[in-house]
Symmetry: C3
């Protein structure tokens, strides 16, 4: 993955918000952290705690905050900016577009489009895609091996990576990014025990994602029993997350990898769920709540609260308990000692 | 997902077990819970705790138990039944068949069938399916992008969703439902450390599922080292479950999402494993045992027992401990106080 | 999966290291554990704790250690060896090759190879594979439905199972085994909150795996933000593992199913991570460390140490605490009693 990127192009992207100090004449061959950068690399000071590492960095071009006053070494260029992390993202976005150009509109000759499906002339449909009857594909990009079910919709600007399944009747919002292997609209897990066996409860709802939702690789979101499993606008879901039928996730939530959310649970807006946390069914999680990684949530969570543990408890209490638990062996010893002492004391009688 | 479903059709399905009270003239446009239903919707009283919500429900048609005596509102139809939840499932099943008609028998022109594979004339093989040499496909439905390995078998009535892999020599039972992205018969994870490296132990067994097994989206079931990894009849497995080589799961078990079961562990019949639970290898879980979500099972579990925790303990003990743990900070304080008190007491000497 | 395997062939494979005692005339129809083997089966004594089971085993051919002195039954053949487990692996490897012959070199007519991709004449490319522009495929075997991104590389001897995605610019090392449904090089999960929404941070790095890496079914490994997510030589990763962007895993590690490793965390060599463990981001795990299943790692782990728990603590401490926790109910009772006793004692005044 060798780059050949020019400082001229960087200055074009960053525009007037950027003050250049020093000079570097070559091209940029890579991007790296301050400590790992070599000559020819671009680096940046995003987190103040690495401030001391700038002086030792071998990077040729450095994005630094406006209040960083030390001078660059010879042959080194400092670009002073209000927000170096954001500036780096702009540069990376430009590099990303050069590395991964948007495919041209059109339908790959191997793709199968059922006769009554509608595909926008601006859509790009990759090799071995299957578009089911009645499906509607907007100005979206579908990579290879994508399966789109009956009467499903994919809206403008969506990016559907390789090997994604979008189930029957599901609706994928504008500018969604669905990563490889994710499954939208698999059957909900619903059974009634009857006649000596678990009878399947039909799952006749769908999944609806609002605009700007990201869904990670191999994540699964089940269709509703009836109605819709819903993901709110701007919510970002990581890899291998499981979202069960009739869950409703609010706007701008972050759901980190390997989280599981059971049926009919609702999350407000701006909720953050750490990796591997599990939520039981039919719960309400208030807006702005923060659920630490690995937490098992078995009751409602209030808005703005922070919880952690198995089962979940206020984070402060968990942290205190984590300290005290390690003192348990000592407590048991002290207790035995105290019991002995008390026994040896003179009693009333 | 707009419906247009008639009350006439509902009465046909429910038959004589159903007593109609009141009347609704329109079509049914959706199904919703009592509190969310709007005019035109079908709703139901499945759980007695929602009994009070019936009076406020805007639903036009309601399935209620036989002992529900209040009268419907004007323009509202009550259908009184022994088991409203089961009646709803029958209706949903009928709707499901109308929304998702069974595809016609036949092989999609893009499918690849190796010359010595056998495919039933009643099978439906979707776009981009690959059927390996020697495989036998009964009267089953395969959606798109399904991969069936060498000499694998898929029996009558099975439904294989998009992007499923059925590995070499594996056997999928009658009426199984394999959801998108699941992998049956991946290599077991077995290595011997030898000559400074982990040497792979060949995995020459298979996976055999009995009748009426469901396997969730992106679930993985590994082939046996030798012999068979076995899933018993009527067992229902949720999404993203991991079942390792040589595991044997009994009949009519429920295994909820993101559970992991390590190699050679056996489950009896009717075992329920809650979401994200993990079972170590070479264990026995007795029939009817219930393992709560998130539990880490590291030793055998007796039949009919209920366990929870990390590591697993009897559920009653876990629940008691969860209460006591929150009192630890207080206990430490009380203990410090008691120690002081004891020190201040007159001693024997 | 019926075998018909001869003892002659077994002796050919095991060669001079093997001493035969007794005789069995038939063919071998299966392989099974000592207690489950029937007449016609091959079995083995790999673990000394099953020594007593040899005498009762119905197996016709048994691999036993050199110091196993009891005589075989009539019609039973003992093969005495230094390492019966390793001998079994050699036999299984031979059986595996006969059951699952390596496919011939060549490109399936349905595969799509972009014009500027390079595919070795020794490669075997299965049905419905998509090879992106600029990709380089060595003498590797790709099963069906594999997606290989732009400028990705797959080196000699690699085995890519069905429905694997190898992302743009990723590099798959010699003799890697990628199991079905795994995703190499999905976008890292990186966002900056800005302007009232989570803005995606472009992920312009790749994934590089060294030689002899195995990646389990439906496992996901994210591309780096920049630079490379790295997996060291000989490391074996189980199913449904999540490895985030910029993680570096050393050589000869074992990462068991459903583990999650957060961004930028580094593992040394020979690290073992038990199933369902979770590691927070930006941590260092020293070489030879052992992390028990289900552990939540939230701080650095020293080389050679063993940890367990939520959060992680030294395994000895965890084990002690697991015992003491069960005594908590009793401790609370004893404490209440002691408090009463102390109150009843005569005080100083």
């Amino acid at each position: 993955m060798a780059l050949a990127y020019t400082t001229t192009r960087i200055l074009e992207i960053l525009g007037d918000d950027c003050a250049a100090v020093g000079a570097y004449e070559g091209t940029i061959q890579g991007i790296a952290s301050l400590s790992e950068a070599q000559a020819g690399d671009l680096s940046f000071l995003g987190n103040p705690k690495y401030r001391a590492s700038v002086a030792d960095s071998q990077a040729s071009v450095l994005l630094v905050p406006q209040d960083y006053d030390a001078a660059p070494k010879s042959g080194q260029l400092f670009l002073k900016l209000e927000n170096p992390s954001f500036a780096l993202a702009l540069i990376c976005r430009d590099i990303e577009l050069s590395l991964l150009p948007k495919p041209a509109a059109g339908i790959h000759p191997t793709a199968v489009i059922e006769p009554d499906a509608e595909v926008s002339s601006e859509a790009s449909i990759g090799a071995f895609c299957y578009i089911g009857p009645g499906a509607k594909i907007g100005a979206a990009t579908l990579s290879s091996h994508v399966s789109v079910g009956r009467s499903a919709q994919i809206k403008d600007g969506a990016l559907i990576a390789s090997r994604v399944s979008v189930g029957d009747y599901c609706v994928i919002g504008e500018r969604n990014r669905l990563l490889p292997g994710c499954v939208i609209g698999s059957d909900g897990y619903g059974y009634e025990y009857f006649d000596g066996a678990h009878q399947r409860v039909p799952q006749i709802g769908n999944v609806v994602t609002a605009a700007d939702v990201d869904v990670g690789a191999n994540t699964t979101i089940d269709r509703a029993r009836f109605g819709s499993t819903q993901i709110g606008a701007g919510t970002k879901i990581d890899n291998q997350v499981q979202i069960a039928h009739n869950v409703r996730v609010g706007q701008h939530c972050l759901i980190v990898a390997q989280v599981g959310i059971s049926g009919s649970t609702t999350l407000g807006d701006g909720v953050i769920v750490g990796g591997q946390a599990g939520l039981a069914g039919h719960l309400k999680v208030g807006s702005g709540a923060m659920i630490a990684g690995g937490t098992a949530v078995v009751s409602d969570i209030e808005a703005q609260s922070k919880v952690r543990g198995y089962p979940a408890m206020p984070m402060m209490l968990f942290n205190r308990m984590a300290v005290l638990q390690r003192k348990l062996p000592d407590l048991f010893k002290r207790f035995d000692q105290l019991e002995k002492t008390v026994k040896s004391l003179p009693s009333e009688s």
